[in-house]
Amino acid sequence: MGSKHKIIGKPERRVDAWGKVTGRAKFAEDYSVAHQLWGKVLRSKHPHAKILRIDTTKAETLPGVEAIVTARDIPGSKVFGIVVKNQQILCEDRVRYLGDGIALVAARSREICEEAVALIEIDYEPLPVISDPEEALKPGALPIHGDKNEFVHHKVCKGDVEKGFAEADFIIECTFKTQFVEHSYIEPEAVLAEPAEQGGVVITGSVQNLFSSRRSVAEALNLPLSRVQIIQATLGGSFGGKDEVMTSMCCRAAILATKTGKPVKMVNSREESMLESYKRHPYVLYYKWGAKHDGSITAMEVRCIADGGAYASMSPFVTWRSVVQATGPYCCENVKTDIYAAYTNNNYTGAMRGFGSPQVNFAIESMMDELAAKVGMNPLEIRMKNGFENGAVTATGQKLTHTVSLKEVLTKAAQEIGFEAKWQKYRSLKSGEKKRGVGLACSYRGVSLGAEGTDAAETIVSVQTDGSVIVSSGVTDMGQGAQTQMSQIAAEVLGITMDRIQFLNTNTSRVADSGPTVASRGTIMGGTAAKNAAEKVKTTLLEVGAAMIGCDVGSLDLAENYLINVKTNERLASFSELCAECFRKGKPMMGFGWHHSPPTSWDEEHGQGDAYFTFVYGANATEVEVDTETGKVNVIDFVSVHDVGKAINRGMVIGQMCGGVAMGLGYGLLEEFEIEEGVPKQLNFDEYLIATAMDVPRIRTIIVENEDPAGPFGAKSVGEPTNELAAPAIVNAIFNATGRRLYEIPANLERVLLGHKLTRTGKRGSEVKANHG
């Protein structure tokens, strides 16, 4: 299969890597211009309070201060939001979480900014702080927005769960809890906003979703979209995290730049970043399954409450993916799922790699092992018994028409780690200081946005007169390698080598709105658009070639930087000569590629529909060593298997797989952003612990390629599926080792040893306070 492509599937260096190994790559904070001012936010002192008075007079008189801005100074919309417009750029009368901004300062140095912010006087009237989403949903709870705190309720209804439970031989009921997770991109947020020559602003920043940020800036400043240009600086990681927090920063910097008429730079410290930025949703998950002694599942009832925090953000979409995938890739005729999101005074929660799947997968895959234990099967057998096959019908009533490779990936993962033999051996070992265990987890995942919304993207391929090529796209690169994938696709189509291609960072004024680069849609959307664009250019080039050589188009092709005769492989002209000829003949040398995803459907009332146009399948298997005397868990072996359709660039696919596992390992074992009464406890990497090189074992990666007609060259997705399985696999492995199941993550020292979390109380040396269950 590999032989039919020259560039696709071959090891190619990343197009953006040279700048990154030499230090030349410019990330947002690396941009500075002459006479720039510094911008700074005054943030709230209370997680929930009325603002009674804002007095900026003292701050205004400080030498070096050039502007102070409050909500009143925002000329246009004071709020933004992709689904629900309720997030405040600056708060006017009420703050809803500690990260809320109230005023902005622009000054000649960071130090002056700091002093000025300290001189702004705010009078607050504290309001009750709601930190628990279940409390927020109770009748009588103080509404944080509007008249109630419930702002999402998605459902899926299939068959009749009551009937299914009645048919069951037994019922399993478990409650699971997951934590807030910080994206932990290593680059903190930064922007530089400059007043544009003809009015409006030009913003260069660490922005993931440029088009939605642009819309909000335009609305805040009452500008047409054409006057707001956002240029993506090389992005130092995002993982879903540089969306609304960057929209807010872009709006603020743009307001200051407009007001002062000068460039304004804003940079978050790590502490500011962790304080203000949104997190992955904590879920409380109530799972109830009815099953038969043969291991088949007769009913699945799921209820989840997501902590949405102070603003709606992406919660409606995140929880929608959860509701679609909440019962996993398992056959069941009777399903009832309800997912709610509630406002609280915690950090708001939104998109993070996985997007609603890591939480439900933790529950589903734990339940599957519980079921296995109940019926005396091993975890592989139970999944093979219930897992989807070709033509399966999902909980939302969607018939799967692509290659359903769930059992293929599962089997490969299990075999690679030697699952069944180890599982049998480890469960029967009696005691010991260090105990080993193996765990398995698998999933299916809808590709791209699905029925969430419009799903289309543009890529532009522009051939230069010397045969070099410039590619640009509305799909952005944040380290995952979208630029390289699109470049490889363009090079494959044009029959050229990668050194000819230069990829430009995304600029909202130069490419069409391509939606957000989320949902692992970079390759399938941007890549297909790149293919379409390159094919248009290729058609023109071959026509020019045919006229130049004097033969028909059908006998020509492009390969290895030459125009060739298809039959003889004879090189007729170099790609460069062909491009020069194309220019001389006055033919278009630019191809605009557009891709609109295949149709999806959703009936919100009944929770049924063809939610996604295709799905991917993945399985993780892991071996852990549990120190039964201290609760320390070491992951000593890991196998990650994913069906990606087609690996455009194997090295980058492996990179996504290893990176996804490491992040998932952190989710399962280490990471917990704790918020107590609206106050976050961890604001830097000394306390918020992500995995180091010593915590991640060597990961064995297996790429499965069942090409899918929905994607370019058969490619689908890899970014998010790699991140949604490690935590349940690890927790299942701990169960295999210790015989004790953990219903909450992360499986840190205390949870593993004691079975519950320990919470530090406010006062040192005070009495024990344990959070049971």
Binding site: R110, L689, A691, L758, E767
Partner: protein, 301 residues
């Protein structure tokens, strides 16, 4: 090529306030500065703790920072007869690579290897670890187990203090503001003794000590314990040998059960000192385990 840069750059929050900076080359210069500024001065060596402190919002900024890293007498590890001397600027990296320490006090090398990251170990010094006096300071339990003494120098002269009596409470030592810690010295343990350091962190690297134990065990030819020293870390407000547990071992034949008994005693002593707090449910069983393991590790050597 020679480039001259004169524009001075100033920063804001989560950065430091202005102070005077001095970089003395000799003890005399340094002690003179200290006697001039007293409590208004702070000494910097590696800076890995101090700069984090100074960057915190609302941190108390000293009037002067005195960089002692250019005083050449303050570096190096040497043997003086029956003593081993660590000069205060010895970095954690120096310690973990030292043949002398590997031979006479390998627990110091183990402890140094668990501190921070390579970057931190390359800058952070043993003197700084002691003077910062954080309860999780990893070099301190081994040094107390070694019965180390610290040497302090001021304009008035030099004095020594036993390390176990040097700490007043977390982050506070009994050093006077005009004193510089110049070295740490300890008697070489008997050649037949062996030592260990075990540390439990949440992560496998760059991890603050959740709990740790330094142990030295001397078993005589007759297979009975002659001497044992046990010093837990992150367990007490300040460090101390747990004599009640050590005495359980002396005169007995080493065994897992005996070590476990000593561990239980350490847990008891810990609770008698700190009372029961939010973390006791975890620390009580785990400190006992770590003590047992530290002793087992000595015994295995």
């Amino acid at each position: 090529m020679y480039i001259r840069v004169v524009s001075v750059f100033i920063r804001g929050k989560y950065s430091m306030r202005l102070f005077e900076f001095y970089s003395p080359r000799t003890f005399d210069e340094a002690t003179a500065l200290l006697s001039q500024y007293g409590a208004d001065a702070k000494i910097i060596a590696g800076g890995t703790d101090l700069l984090i402190e100074l960057r915190k919002p609302g941190a108390k900024t000293p009037k002067a920072i005195i960089d002692i890293s250019k005083i050449s007498e303050l570096t190096g590890i040497r043997e003086e007869g029956d003593l081993v001397v660590l000069n205060a600027l010895t970095t954690h990296s120096d310690i973990l690579r030292s043949q002398t320490l590997q031979k006479h006090a390998s627990l110091l090398c183990s402890a140094a290897s668990t501190i921070g990251s390579p970057q931190i170990r390359n800058r952070g010094t043993v003197g700084g670890n002691i003077m910062n006096a954080a309860t999780c300071a990893d070099m301190v339990p081994p040094l107390i187990a070694l019965d180390a003494q610290v040497t302090l120098k001021s304009r008035g002269g030099t004095r020594t203090s036993s390390l176990s009596e040097f700490f007043v409470k977390p982050y506070v030592t009994s050093a006077r503001p005009d004193e510089i810690l110049i070295d740490i010295r300890f008697p070489k343990p008997p050649a037949a003794a062996s030592s260990s350091f075990v540390k439990l962190g949440r992560r496998n690297a760059v991890s603050i000590s959740r709990l740790s134990v330094a142990a030295i065990l001397h078993v005589e030819k007759n297979a009975l314990v002659k001497e044992a020293r046990i010093v837990p870390g992150s367990a007490f407000p300040t460090w101390q040998r747990v004599m009640e547990a050590e005495s359980i071992l002396v005169g007995k034949k080493p065994s897992r059960e005996l070590f476990a008994e000593a561990g239980k005693k350490v847990a008891e002593v810990m609770i008698s000192i700190t009372g029961r707090r939010w973390s006791t449910e975890y620390k009580e069983p785990v400190i006992a385990v770590l003590v047992r393991r530290a002793l087992e590790a000595c015994w295995d050597n």
